[in-house]
Symmetry: C2
Subunit: 335 residues, 2 copies
């Protein structure tokens, strides 16, 4: 691991061997993402600066940082670069997603392809993706027995791509089953949470035998997050969600609330094929209990995650992970 690229990290200012409080690490990771975007190479700087205006809630970065926490509750400096890398990878997938989904807004501002065109957006996504992988490849693990982080990311990313492709292939498929849907989102969304948890674990002082527990908590939390987001699309206002609502059904993306509604109300499929308004679809989802059903699923995944979190020894870490789990399930909490 005397890889040339690693030397970069060691010489990066601010990344000494000091360890930090969790809250400080979260703020540093946020500002690292923003700094990287604002200082992008010239040919791409305008686009990256546009993205820097709205950098998201950073729940994946927080998950990684919380998992990397050591027994004394502090976070190693390398985790900041790792967390920034995860957020940039997430951003890269969002850019391509918005092209695929014809989404106009993202995080309260114009989607990149709306402002700069689809072709530029494809290239910007590719660039961010490579840059984030490059950043991740600079990580040096203290405990080599756990393996190395750079090799961990790609397999989660093939899972994410397959999830995206499965989602796209099922646009307008009113016969999509709950199981097929859960498979889609376990790739599309949960795999990135798994990656965050996995890398956080690899950077921590947790014993190697805890690896699978971390990856599994990541999966459960990711499922909670996506299902809560699915509900949000039906019940939130545009202002609150900072992105278009009812966009899933408008784009033909079938999510769990609608899958349930289609099962309960057998006339709905025919109505949708003949063309009904988004408002009417929303009413059907609400009337059939699609939201409540999805919330019951969220509770199941959440209970699983809670159980696994409670098995961890580090109390400070347990508290952080439970807060994140609550955040992921915000919709259920706020109802």
């Amino acid at each position: 691991m005397t890889n040339k690229l690693n030397l970069k990290l060691i010489s990066t200012p601010g990344l000494s061997s000091d360890r930090l409080e969790y809250g400080v690490a979260v703020r540093l990771a946020e500002s690292e993402v923003s700094k990287i975007l604002k200082a992008a190479p010239l040919p791409i700087r305008r686009q990256m600066q546009h993205l820097a205006q709205a950098t998201g809630k950073g729940i994946r970065a927080q998950a990684l940082l919380a998992c990397s926490m050591e027994s004394d509750g502090l976070v190693g400096c390398q985790a900041i670069n790792a967390a920034a890398s995860i957020e940039l990878l997430h951003l890269a997938t969002l850019i391509h997603d918005d092209i695929i989904d014809n989404a106009d807004m993202r995080r309260g501002i114009d989607a990149l392809h709306v402002k700069f065109g689809e072709k530029t957006a494809v290239l910007c996504g590719d660039y961010l993706f490579c840059f984030a992988f490059e950043l991740a490849s600079t990580l040096v693990l203290q405990e080599m027995s756990k393996g190395e982080t750079a090799g961990v990311l790609p397999s989660y990313f093939t899972a994410i791509c397959l999830g995206e492709i499965r989602e796209f292939n099922n646009i307008g498929n009113f016969a999509l089953t709950e199981n097929e849907y859960l498979r889609i989102i376990s790739g599309k969304t949960a795999a990135l949470f798994q990656a965050s948890f996995h890398i956080g674990f690899l950077l921590s002082d947790e014993p190697p035998e805890n690896e699978d527990i971390y990856v599994e908590i990541g999966r459960q939390l990711g499922m909670v997050f996506q299902l809560a987001d699915d509900c949000l699309d039906y019940i939130s206002s545009e202002k609150k969600a900072k992105k278009p609502v009812l966009s899933d059904c408008r784009c033909g993306v079938i999510t769990l609330p609608l899958i349930y509604a289609l099962q309960v109300d057998k006339s709905l499929r025919g109505k949708m094929l003949n063309g009904i308004s988004e408002k009417e679809i929303k009413s059907a989802v609400l009337a059939t209990g699609g939201i409540e059903y999805t919330q019951s699923k969220i509770r199941e995944f959440r209970a699983e995650a809670k159980k696994l979190i409670s098995s961890l020894e580090n109390k400070k870490k347990r508290i952080r992970l439970e807060i994140l789990l609550d955040k992921a399930a915000t919709v259920v909490v706020s109802l």
Copy 2:
């Protein structure tokens, strides 16, 4: 490096510790690419099988394999996976390129976005990209002192993306200078050859101090390859090139033959702004000596590469690399 993913490689059938003749390794790498594409996960299989119909000349794989050759002229088995990975990464960039360039054909068959739509093509490119990175991350180096391969790839890929973005930003820019153009192609094309040479070197038994020589030969060979391809666009027939000819100028991509023609024939820029046919542009490029000028540049890069190759100790390797250099410059040879 006890990375979980590495275990995969060790257990892959056919990838024992045996070493192979170069020619056998080339054929195995080719068939590995084809096998991977044909056995792609179901949601993406049709698209990957379409790509498997025409898998290219494999010059980047051959470069990697030649560089990985050991003192006895044999190639280690791991180099086959590395070579397949490089070809898949190349394929991923081609898929996105063809979207950006509105190219209809690739390697004699329909471009992926023409057959399956732009959105699917974006996702297929992303998938192949991640898959190739995953494959590369399974490589285990014998000599750890040289560093590790997985971390080497991403930095070349940010360079490739930046080259693509620079090219796209300069579409229709008749004021593009030769230096700016060489900078574009040193990213867009040469960086992937550098990556092939670099990884081949890392897998070989060459001494660590030869690292820079390999990366530099890769760069020169990449420049030769792109400039020869630029000439091909003006002087080849569609049948011979297996892709549309005169496509660069049709898409507003300014390459060296045209940059030179615009410098020599001062009236050309005005004519192009007013709109002249591709045939007329071709005539101007030929009349001003744009092809000969580009060929003189090819000769310069080629001479540099030859000098560096001749400094290598391994005779069998020198011969292979010279053959590849000749291949890269095919256009000059055939004129």
